[in-house]
Structure formats: structure tokens, C-alpha cells
């Protein structure tokens, strides 16, 4: 209810400012998908609140973060606020080819996903973050099951991170195990924390983990175009996946092709919106560390960052 | 008591259970015994039964469990479809009735009481009793009124709001009886109505039942496995074994002249003087003149015991209920029955 009040107040403020929208938005609810990580949920609510303050109806549905592109294509949901290059680039491109959705611009934020370790690991293996130090430190990452090989905990198989291939391509003395979920990755780091046991896991930014466990990405041979398709690219001439992931991946917005016609004003706002890494981390922190509900977190963030979102609204309002 | 057109008329009725009974029956040679049929994989629930029940008559069907008595009564009400033969109710072949007609027949003419009461557990006494009226679509006010009448009749007023499980067995059967009477049926089927009750209650319910019957005068088919009960209640008794009727006769005749060894076994231990009426022992007058006060033919020999001992006459005239002398009874024969042959 409080959210609604705030939104109403904002709507009043804008209409009082003499804003006149070019065309009417449909009164059908704009369906915004939310996934199972906090920054995306909070960001979705922030944008949803802005839509509501323009007089639109908004609804949130929880969806799978890969399957969502199919839903956008069909118009079941209207947009997606966090399209990560590394994680969802493939699903996004595939849906793009089949038609029905389009790229609605980039956020300022850049994304990165790669092999990562919490800072305490560096004490035991000072050669990091250079990847060439990995083999010397392999014994540090060993577990009862891996013998003298190190353990690298990769993301779930469906994230298609090619950890095994990279370990082979770069001749790393590591056993690559796939976690079943993001939560399993955190549990693995969390278990290592009290004793500051060295661990090597798959991780990405921006997310809440950087606030809990400061850490660094391993610096692999830098990404070159074609590293995943052409064996010749990268240090190992006979293997694919022999370099790191792009260090500055995009974070996009995607929209259903029908959105500009159905909700022209909301769509115009969507094009304006652009968050940066710090803002996204702040959103995650409000939920993951400060323990607010995402709705409350969105409300708090908007109270504290009016100077960020107000200009976007004014840009489309005038 | 009996009139000419029977209410229920059953001719060569068969009920076979098994995979393909109709075909089997049509190809079956005559004179197959129960066991022959069993050997062919069929069970003869009702085996070639012919029987009439007159208006206002109480027919008791007696037999041990598995003798087919319950099956027979279910054929009368077409809860079972018979395999062969015909059954007519008031001259109407019930096998020829369409579903609608059958439902109409049951709604207007038949009532039935069951051994384990067959009450609907989720309905109160009142709702159970009114159930047949509800099925007929009677409006709720009228049905309540009528149901209350019957509930009073069976002595349950004050309990109409109770649920079956809150009542004793005897009371539950009163509900069953009230339900079967609520539509004022012409034909009343009672399937071992008192068997599930303990002996004291059973006796009380039998008396209650006789009281009701005296008041209502329905045509009744009553089933029991208790020979004493049959003797006590029946106008006529049909004794069944293996689906067939061994003998169908008045209680006096069954006791005096059992036709088969099977029937004999039941009658052996019966105190005959309690059952046999003077009229059954009377011989026709054949023009002979008799003197003196006649005795009442409707009394049992046991009731006449004192007269028999004190009256010096060799032969006693017997009168029917209107006082007309209809026959003569040998005192010696009556005393033999009372005390056993000398």
C-alpha cells in the first residue's frame, strides 16, 4: 500500500508538472518477469513503481531466467531488465533470431563471470590472480574426493560455462565439479569461510557476494572473439575455450516487439533507464544483507536515489 | 383375506449368476440340479420359482443363508433382473418396465426394510424418513409433515433431529420401517428386518410390527432365517433351499404335513400345539350333525388345552370367526398333538 501511495504521489507530481503524454498506454497490466536473484527483483519493482506512477498497471511474475526470453517473444511478459551477456546472451540471441523481442538498450553496468576466489585464498596462493599460478596451488584446493588435484566448483551445467573444457585446454590440474544451483556455490564458499580454506568457484558481478566475501576473478588469457568457436584463437592452438570470459560484458534490457505500440510511454521510459554497477549492488545489498523484502527494498532505494530515477521520468514526461 | 387377483405373481422365475446367464438358461436341459448348475460355473440364486401373493397377505420366505430368499425378494422389486420367467406386480410385468416406470412403481407402490437398516449416515432421522418423498420431488413442508406422522407411528418422535449413529439398533430399524412406510406403499418388503437385533429387542419389534400390520393391512413379503419368527408372523410360509421353494403353505400345514425331509428338519423341534389352530385339525362335516357349543377355529391347540381336557365329547365342532360351524375336530388327535401320542 505504501508503494502505491508513493507511486500516486509521484504521478501527481508529474502531472502537476504539466507533463502530457503523446499517446495513451493500454490499461492492460505490463507484466514484468522476476527471477531468483535479488538485484533483478528489486530493479523490476523499481521500474514497475515508475510505470505505476505513470498510471500503468503492473504485474510481476516469477519466471525462469532462461525461459523468460521465450515468454517475451510470445508477449506473455513485456520486458526483461537484466540480460547478462555471459549467462543469458545465448538464449537472448536465439530468441532474437526467432523474432518477437528486441534489444532495448544497455545499462551502464558491465558484467563479468569467471573463475573466482575469496580474498583469503590469496594468502595461501600469492601468485593469484594470474591463472598460471593455479597449477602450483592445486594441492590447496584438493578435497578428500579429488586426491591431489584441485577442485574447481563450476556453475550449474545448464549455465554452459565450459569449465571442464577450459581446464583441459589450459592443462590445469583440476577436477571440475558442477554445482546444482547458485545457492550451492554460496554454501561452498560459506563453508570455507570460518577456517579461511582456499576455494575456487564460479562467480559473477554485480551480485551480493562481493559485499559478503571480497574476492577477485582469476585472470585468464584475455577473451578474444572466436575463442569458443575457433581452436586457433587463444594460447592453445588445438583447443577451444582456452581464454577467460569477456571482462566487460554487457547488461541489456530486452522488450517485447509489441510493447512500443501497446505502452508507448512506458516503453520510452524503459529506453531511458540505465543502472550502473554500484546502484545494482546497492539494490542487492538491501535485500541480501539488510534483509528487506524486495518491495520494501525498491521503496527504500527510490527514496534514497530520487536524483537517479526522477530525471528519466522527466525525460519522457516532457 | 385373499382376493382373486394376486398382487405379486411369479411364474417360473430364474435368477442365475455367472458370466452369461441368459444364454446358459436358454440352452440348459430340464431337471438340472443346483449342483449341476454350479458345476457349469453358475449360481442359481432363484431356481424356477412360481408363487402368488394375495392382497393383504403376509408371506414369509424362510430359509438359511444362501438359500436365495433375499435374491427372490430383490427380484420382486427388480433390484435384480430375473434371468427367466415372469414377475407381475398388479398384473404388470415388471421386467417390461422402462427405467422411468420402474422408478415410478417404487415411488408409489413399494417399501422395503433392510437387515442392516440401510440408513443414510449423513441425514437425520427426519431426513432419512422423508428421503423417498424427496425423491418424488414433494415440497419440503409437506414432506416434513408426512415424515413426522410416520415417525410418530413408529414411536420415534422427539428423535427426529438425531443422526443414525446416535440411535440404538432397534431405533435405527424403526427409522428404516418409517422410511419404507412414508409413501404409503401397497407392497411392503422386509428383508430380515430384525436379525441384526438382540433377542429381547427382536421380540419387542415383532410385536410392534404386528401392531402396525393390523393397523395398515399391507401386502407383505417378509424374509427371515428364523423359523419361530416365520411361524409367529406368517399367513403363509415359503421355505427355500438352493434357490428353489421346498414348500409354500400355511404354518399349520407346514408343521402338520412337511412335504420334504428338509422342511421336516425345521418342524421337528417345534412345539406344534403353539402353532396349529383348531381349524387346521378340523375335518369337513360331510353332512354330519354336530351338537354343543363349537370351539373357535382361530385358537391354537395350546389355547384350547383346558377345554380339550375338560370337554368329554369325542368330536368337537369348530366354528370360523363368524360363528358358523365349518368342521369337526377329533379330541384325541388334538390331545395327541398337545401331549404327544399316548
Amino acid at each position: 500500500m505504501k508503494i502505491r501511495n508513493l507511486a500516486a504521489a509521484a504521478a501527481f507530481a508529474i502531472s502537476a508538472g504539466g507533463a502530457a503524454f503523446a499517446a495513451e498506454d493500454s490499461s492492460d497490466p505490463i507484466v514484468i518477469p522476476i527471477h531468483n536473484w535479488s538485484s533483478q527483483i528489486v530493479m523490476s519493482h523499481i521500474v514497475g513503481n515508475m510505470f505505476e506512477s505513470m498510471g500503468n498497471n503492473v504485474e510481476y511474475v516469477t519466471t525462469d531466467s532462461q525461459a523468460v526470453y521465450e515468454s517475451i517473444r510470445l508477449g506473455d511478459v513485456a520486458l526483461e531488465l537484466e540480460v547478462w551477456e555471459g549467462a543469458f546472451g545465448a538464449s537472448f540471441r536465439e530468441a532474437l533470431e526467432r523474432g518477437g523481442l528486441h534489444d532495448a538498450g544497455d545499462h551502464d553496468a558491465v558484467t563479468r563471470e569467471d573463475w573466482w576466489y575469496p580474498m583469503w585464498t590469496k594468502d595461501a596462493c600469492p601468485g593469484l590472480p594470474d591463472w598460471e599460478a593455479l597449477n602450483d596451488c592445486a594441492h590447496l584446493f584438493a578435497t578428500p574426493e579429488t586426491g591431489d588435484q584441485g577442485l574447481f566448483l563450476d556453475g550449474p551445467v545448464d549455465w554452459l560455462k565450459h569449465g571442464k573444457e577450459r581446464a583441459e585446454a589450459l592443462d590445469l590440474n583440476y577436477v571440475v565439479v558442477n554445482a546444482g544451483s547458485a545457492a550451492a556455490l554460496w554454501a561452498h564458499i560459506g563453508a570455507a569461510e570460518p577456517d579461511r580454506t582456499p576455494v575456487l568457484v564460479f562467480n559473477w558481478t554485480p551480485n551480493f557476494a562481493e559485499a559478503v566475501w571480497p574476492g577477485e576473478f582469476v585472470e585468464f588469457p584475455p577473451w578474444e572473439e572466436g575463442c569458443d568457436t575457433d581452436p586457433a584463437v587463444g594460447p592453445n592452438p588445438d583447443a577451444l575455450h582456452d581464454c577467460g570470459n569477456p571482462a566487460d560484458g554487457y547488461l541489456k534490457k530486452a522488450a517485447w516487439d509489441g510493447m512500443p505500440d501497446k505502452w508507448p510511454n512506458a516503453y520510452a521510459l524503459l529506453k531511458e533507464i540505465s543502472f550502473n554497477n554500484a546502484q545494482i549492488a546497492e539494490m542487492a545489498k538491501l535485500v541480501d544483507i539488510d534483509d528487506y523484502d524486495p518491495e520494501e527494498a525498491a521503496e527504500i532505494w527510490m527514496e534514497e536515489n530520487e536524483d537517479v530515477w526522477r530525471p528519466w521520468m522527466e525525460a519522457v514526461g516532457s | 383375506m385373499q382376493t382373486d387377483t394376486p398382487v405379486i405373481s411369479c411364474r417360473n422365475a430364474w435368477k442365475l449368476f455367472g458370466p452369461n446367464p441368459r444364454q446358459y438358461l436358454s440352452q440348459m436341459p430340464d431337471g438340472q440340479s443346483y449342483n449341476d448348475i454350479l458345476a457349469d460355473g453358475y449360481i442359481a440364486g432363484v431356481k424356477d420359482v412360481s408363487l402368488d401373493v394375495g392382497k393383504g397377505e403376509m408371506l414369509v420366505i424362510m430359509g438359511l443363508s444362501g438359500s436365495g430368499k433375499s435374491t427372490l425378494v430383490r427380484c420382486f422389486s427388480r433390484l435384480h433382473d430375473i434371468t427367466g420367467g415372469t414377475i407381475e406386480i398388479d398384473g404388470q410385468d415388471i421386467m417390461a418396465l422402462p427405467e422411468k416406470g420402474l422408478i415410478e412403481l417404487r415411488r408409489s407402490k413399494m417399501g422395503m426394510v433392510f437387515q442392516s437398516f440401510g440408513l443414510l449416515p449423513h441425514r437425520t432421522v427426519l431426513e432419512n424418513v422423508a428421503f423417498p418423498l424427496e425423491m418424488r420431488g414433494q415440497d419440503s413442508h409437506k414432506r416434513r409433515e408426512r415424515a413426522m406422522e410416520v415417525i410418530k407411528l413408529v414411536g420415534l418422535d422427539g428423535r427426529e433431529g438425531y443422526f443414525p449413529r446416535e440411535l440404538s439398533g432397534g431405533q435405527q430399524q424403526r427409522v428404516g420401517i418409517a422410511r419404507s412406510l412414508v409413501i404409503e406403499p401397497d407392497i411392503w418388503f422386509l428383508d430380515e428386518p430384525f436379525s441384526a437385533l438382540d433377542p429381547l429387542i427382536r421380540r419387542e419389534m415383532q410385536d410392534e410390527f404386528l401392531r402396525l400390520q393390523e393397523m395398515l393391512g399391507k401386502t407383505i413379503v417378509f424374509i427371515t432365517h428364523d423359523f419361530d419368527e416365520a411361524l409367529r408372523l406368517a399367513d403363509r410360509i415359503a421355505i427355500m433351499k438352493d434357490g428353489a421353494i421346498e414348500q409354500c403353505d400355511t404354518p399349520d400345514q407346514i408343521v402338520l404335513n412337511p412335504k420334504t425331509p428338509y422342511v421336516l428338519k425345521f418342524t421337528e423341534d417345534v412345539e406344534k400345539a403353539l402353532v396349529v389352530h383348531a381349524s387346521a385339525l378340523a375335518k369337513p362335516l360331510n353332512g354330519e350333525a354336530v351338537e354343543g357349543t363349537p370351539i373357535d377355529g382361530g385358537m391354537t391347540i395350546r389355547q384350547l388345552a383346558r377345554t380339550l381336557v375338560n370337554d368329554p365329547r369325542e368330536n368337537l365342532p369348530v366354528a370360523d370367526s363368524s360363528g358358523t360351524v365349518t368342521g369337526v375336530m377329533s379330541r384325541k388327535a388334538a390331545l395327541d398333538l398337545l401331549m404327544g401320542p399316548a
Binding site: 497490466p29 516469477t62 578435497t143 545457492a183 554454501a187 577456517d195 542487492a284 | 440401510g118
Partner: protein, 644 residues
């Protein structure tokens, strides 16, 4: 003889592995029919294509999802959590009003104890700041569960009326009850749109089979005299059904309702994968940001909700109507309704003035999530705990589980199938053996043999370990009435506790290893073993125990030579259920990280691979059914032999 022959053949095949032709070791890829592609073509055909305008099932399902279903979900969501839908109430119902009505309902069904349980659950939920998400869940369940009830009732009645229909759906129901839930999720999304609609449908489909079975059983059990009494009262067919059969079968039908409710609750977390909002979604996102305290609190809410609804619906089953004395005024006849309405209104008005009675947000709540979080993490970090679990992890992983898994994987496919056939023959007889042969051959032909074997290995290991703990626990508990009750209660609770909550602590203790997977399956699998052991032992006829006492048997002798042999058929049913539970749970364990069928199934959820999804699901189902048939046929024969 036959049994020995199969076993010897299997052993020879195993021993001769090095010289065996390849196709007996593993089916060559070229032999494997593209079942998934065929299924895809089939699904594509019946589905239709809305973009291309080709008619198909999807038109019907989408119409249903967008029309009636969306409407019903909208109504409940508007009333309970304020979603902007018809009837457009400005605010959702205050929590205190809803709680008051629930308490009165609890009192009506089960007296003060039930009222306390209901009140406690409601207050806990509100105080923990979870009211809103709970209502999101409840608003979907309020549509899904009645839908499951209605479908179950209609199908159940049809199956009771028409034997042939019954015979046709029985195997289908058996498959449905063993099919992993991930296989329900994907078609639900494709046909009914991601979000609460798909969540509701998946829940309904999952929860309906027991309702069908219970309806059929209940109607068959109506006493013939009651039926005849109805017929003799001149009831038409429709009157017979609605006024005689269904009310008389009330008990069984209500047991079915209880099952529908419990299975719907079991789906709360799982449907979160396909967009079901509420407790499940919040639980998953809490786990994804490693908030153990919060997820524990949500887990407790789910358990409380489940226990409350379970107890209430069971009380409803047991509740018999009681008469009122003549002349009781209407407000006394309906006193519960009156009290509920009054309390509802009082709290509704009060909530307009006191915000705490209306809605307790996360910020004002009494949640101790962070403290609990610290507590759990602190406990898991204790040296004692770590050294104990470290040892268990080492021994189990290195010495037991991994060698066992490698051994199973080493066995040639042909020999493996024969071993299973031998088991089914020895335990269940010819029919189960034949089915075992067909089913496992199909699994081999599916092309997912290795993953199937790993799934099976986890199930075996878990059931074995669970038997080691669960059966003795049951035996000890069954000695006293009081302990039996307590342990059975614990079983109920454990069964409703969302297993996801303990997965993370398990990972922290045992790493992402087979030990973690097996142990989390064990927790869930122990429940039926313990429960049926207790029930089997406590239901031994007292005369037999007394006879043993009079023969001068010691406790131990009585247990081993009288009670256990008589309880074994019941325990076998529990063992069977344990296997079914293990198959269910092993799929959830994909969340930890496994190499079995579950992992692949979880993977299909993100895409549109309906064919592959079904092939994987059917593999799980076929393996589960093989054991189900063999063990149940043994238990039934044994029961008959013992005259139980």
C-alpha cells in the same frame, strides 16, 4: 531354477565383460531410437502453433489459462494479497481478520487444540513478516486444490461407473505418481503460460491422482443395502449419485481432499521454478543469496501451514454431524458462523486504525532471520562438527559411495538388466519380472543409461542407509504408545518440511559430493520406513503377543519370532514407499549438483525440450515402477499367507 539361471547368466556376463561384444556392455549410440525427437514431433502436432495459426491443444489450454483460470487466480489474489484484479478491492483482507476466521474454523473442527494450532500458525506467519507471500501462495492453492478436487471427483466417479475406463487410467495414474515433478513443470509452462497459471496447473495435476483413487474406493465401499434403500426410495440415477453415493462415501472422499491439500503444499517450493509466487519463490531467492535464517523461517511457515491444514482436514474427515435439540434458535445452530463473522468484522474495523493488525511488513516484523543465520553458520563452523562430518564425508565418499557407484557403472548393461529381472522374479514373481525386463530395456534404449544407473545408485545407497537408522528407530519407538505417537508426529513434520532448506547446510557440512546427495535423500527416505515399522509392529494382533508371552518368550524372542514376521508385510510397504520417496528426492538433489537424471531434468526446465524432458521423466518412472510392482506383489502375497 529359473531364478538361478538368470542370476548365473548375469554373473557370467559381468565376469566376461572384457571379452563381451560391445553391444552387451553398453548399447551403441546408433541403436538408440530418437525417442525425444519423436515425442517432440508428437507434442508439436498436438500442441498446435499459435504464431502460425495451426490449430491444436494449445488454443484450448491458453484459452483456459487466460480466461477462467486467470480470472479465478485474480479474484483470490485480489482478496488475499491485493493484486489489481476483479473485484478490485482497494486493500487485501487484514491478516487479523483472516486469522480470526481460521481460528474459529479450527475450533469448530477440532476444539481448542486445533484453534490454538490455527491461531499459532497465523500469528507466526504475520509476525515473521511473511503474511503477504503466504497469501500469494494461498491464493494460488485456493484455486489449484479445489480444481484438483473437482477433477479428481469427476474422474473418480467415471472410473467407478465404467470398469473399462478404470482399467485404462490405472496404469496412467501409476506412471503419474512416479513421474518426477520436473516433468509436470515444463508442459505446464508451455501449455499454460509461465507464472501462477502454470503453477496452479502443475499443482493440480500432481495432486489429483490420489483424489481419483479415493473417490473410486469410497464409492465402491458404499454398502449394497444403502444403495438398495436408495433405489427402493425411487431415486433416479442422478439422485442416487448426488444424494446416496457421494454423501455416503464422504469419509473416503474427504481423505482424498486431505491428500490433495498435502500434495499441493508439497508443490509450493517446486512450482516456484515455473513462476509460482509466494513462499516458494521467496525461499529460493533467499537460498540464492545464502540467507539460511530466512529460508529456515519460511520452511517453518510451510511446515506449520501443512500441519494445520493436515490436522484440520483430518478433523473434518472424523467429524460426524450432531443433532440440535428441537427449538434451538438459528444463531445457536450456526454459532460458529456467527462468531466468525463477528470476529472478522471486529478485526476488519480495528485494522483500519491499528496498522499492526492490517499488515506487518518486513521492517516491523519480529523475524530473527539474521540471528538464526549466524547461529546456523556458527554451529556448522564448530570444530567438533567439522571433524565429525569430515570423517563421515571421507569414509562414505572414498570408501563406500564412489566405489559402489563405479561398480554399478562397471556392470554391463545386459547383466544389469538381468540382475534387476532376477530381483523382480525372486521377490515378486513372473509378472513383475516380465515388466522389469521391458522397463529396464526401455531405459537402456532411452540413451540415458549411465545417468539412470547413477540415479538408481543414489536411491539404493539412500534406502540402505535409511533402513539402517529408520527401522531400528521404529522398533524402539513402537515399544510404547507415547513414543510411537511422538515419532509418528516427527515423521509427519519431517515429511512436510521443504527439503530445500536443509540442502545448504548439508552442502556446507559435506561439500558438493555424493555424501551430501545421499544423506539429504536419507532424511526424507527414513520417514516411511520408521512410520511403517511402527505401524506394522503396533498392529500385531494382541492375542499373538499374549500367546508369545504365555509361551515364556523373552522380549527379544517375541520381537524376532512373533512381532517382526507379522509386521514384515507392512514394513515392506514402507520400504517400497521409501524407494518411491527416494526417487522423488533424488531429483530435488539436483539442486546440490549431481550427474544423474535429475540434473538433466532440471536443465530441460530452462528450455522447451519437451521430448527430452519426457524421456528423462519416463526413465525415472519406469525404474520406480519396476520396484514398486515387485515389492508390493510380495507384500500382498505375504499378507495373504499370514491371513492379515
Amino acid at each position: 531354477m529359473f531364478l538361478q539361471a538368470i542370476l548365473v547368466t548375469a554373473l557370467i556376463l559381468t565376469a566376461a565383460k572384457p571379452i563381451l561384444p560391445d553391444f552387451l556392455v553398453r548399447l551403441p549410440d546408433v541403436w538408440i531410437p530418437p525417442f525425444a525427437d519423436w515425442l517432440d514431433v508428437f507434442f508439436e502436432f498436438i500442441r498446435g502453433d499459435m504464431d502460425a495459426g495451426r490449430w491444436g491443444l494449445i488454443y484450448v489450454t491458453r484459452w483456459f489459462a487466460d480466461g477462467p483460470l486467470e480470472f479465478m487466480l485474480g479474484v483470490t489474489a485480489n482478496i488475499l494479497e491485493g493484486r489489481h484484479r476483479w473485484p478490485y478491492f482497494e486493500n487485501p483482507l487484514p491478516w487479523s481478520s483472516v486469522a480470526a476466521v481460521t481460528v474459529v474454523l479450527g475450533y469448530y473442527l477440532g476444539g481448542w487444540r486445533m484453534a490454538l494450532l490455527a491461531g499459532g500458525t497465523m500469528i507466526w506467519t504475520a509476525l515473521m513478516g511473511q503474511w503477504n507471500i503466504t497469501m500469494q501462495t494461498v491464493s494460488v492453492l485456493l484455486v489449484a486444490a479445489p480444481l484438483g478436487f473437482a477433477i479428481g471427483l469427476v474422474v473418480g466417479i467415471t472410473a467407478w461407473k465404467y470398469r473399462s475406463f478404470d482399467n485404462a487410467i490405472r496404469p496412467l495414474l501409476a506412471v503419474m505418481q512416479t513421474l518426477p515433478f520436473y516433468t509436470y513443470l515444463l508442459p505446464a509452462v508451455i501449455f499454460f503460460k509461465v507464472g501462477p497459471t502454470a503453477g496452479a496447473i502443475a499443482t493440480t495435476i500432481y495432486a489429483t491422482p490420489p483424489m481419483i483413487l479415493m473417490t473410486t474406493i469410497g464409492l465402491r465401499k458404499v454398502s449394497p443395502e444403502v444403495v438398495e434403500a436408495g433405489k427402493m426410495s425411487g431415486a433416479t440415477r442422478w439422485q442416487m449419485l448426488t444424494k446416496v453415493f457421494i454423501p455416503t462415501a464422504r469419509t473416503e472422499i474427504l481423505v482424498g481432499v486431505n491428500q490433495v491439500i498435502m500434495l499441493s503444499l508439497a508443490m509450493i517450493v517446486l512450482t516456484a521454478f515455473i513462476g509460482m509466487p509466494g513462499l516458494g519463490a521467496t525461499l529460493l531467492s533467499s537460498m540464492n543469496s545464502f540467507r539460511l535464517g530466512r529460508s529456515l523461517e519460511i520452511g517453518i511457515t510451510i511446515v506449520l501451514l501443512a500441519i494445520m491444514l493436515d490436522q484440520m482436514s483430518k478433523a473434518w474427515v472424523a467429524k460426524q454431524p450432531v443433532h440440535f435439540e428441537r427449538g434451538t434458535p438459528w444463531y445457536l445452530r450456526h454459532k460458529h458462523v456467527v462468531v466468525a463473522l463477528v470476529l472478522f468484522s471486529v478485526f476488519y474495523v480495528a485494522a483500519q486504525f491499528f496498522d499492526m493488525l492490517n499488515d506487518i511488513g518486513r521492517r516491523q516484523s519480529f523475524s530473527q532471520a539474521r540471528e538464526i543465520d549466524a547461529l546456523i553458520k556458527g554451529f556448522l563452523a564448530l570444530d567438533v562438527v567439522k571433524s565429525i562430518t569430515g570423517t563421515i564425508r571421507y569414509v562414505l565418499n572414498v570408501w563406500v559411495l564412489v566405489p559402489f557407484r563405479d561398480a554399478l557403472l562397471w556392470i554391463p548393461t545386459s547383466a544389469f538388466i538381468l540382475f534387476v529381472v532376477a530381483f523382480a522374479y525372486g521377490v515378486g514373481g513372473k509378472r513383475p519380472a516380465l515388466y522389469a525386463l521391458i522397463f529396464f530395456s526401455l531405459v537402456a534404449l532411452s540413451g540415458w543409461w549411465d545417468r539412470s544407473v547413477i540415479t538408481l545408485y543414489t536411491v539404493f545407497a539412500a534406502v540402505f542407509l535409511a533402513s539402517l537408522f529408520g527401522i531400528p528407530l521404529g522398533i524402539v519407538a513402537s515399544r510404547s504408545e507415547r513414543w510411537s505417537k511422538r515419532i509418528l508426529m516427527l515423521c509427519d513434520t519431517a515429511q512436510t518440511f521443504p527439503s530445500f532448506v536443509y540442502l545448504l547446510p548439508a552442502i556446507m557440512l559435506f561439500g558438493i559430493t555424493d555424501t551430501t546427495v545421499v544423506l539429504s535423500v536419507v532424511i526424507y527416505t527414513m520417514v516411511p520406513l520408521t512410520r511403517y515399522t511402527i505401524e506394522g509392529l503396533r498392529n500385531v494382533p494382541p492375542e499373538m503377543s499374549e500367546a508369545a508371552d504365555m509361551s515364556g518368550a523373552t522380549r527379544w524372542q517375541k520381537l524376532t519370532s512373533v512381532q517382526l514376521p507379522l509386521a514384515v508385510p507392512t514394513m515392506a510397504v514402507g520400504f517400497n514407499q521409501a524407494i518411491m520417496f527416494a526417487f522423488f528426492m533424488v531429483i530435488i538433489a539436483a539442486f546440490i549438483g549431481t550427474q544423474d537424471l535429475g540434473q538433466e531434468l532440471q536443465r530441460t526446465l530452462a528450455g522447451t525440450d519437451l521430448g527430452k524432458n519426457f524421456v528423462l521423466g519416463i526413465c525415472v518412472s519406469l525404474m520406480a515402477l519396476t520396484f514398486d510392482m515387485a515389492i508390493l506383489s510380495w507384500a500382498n502375497r505375504r499378507k495373504k499367507a499370514l491371513g492379515l
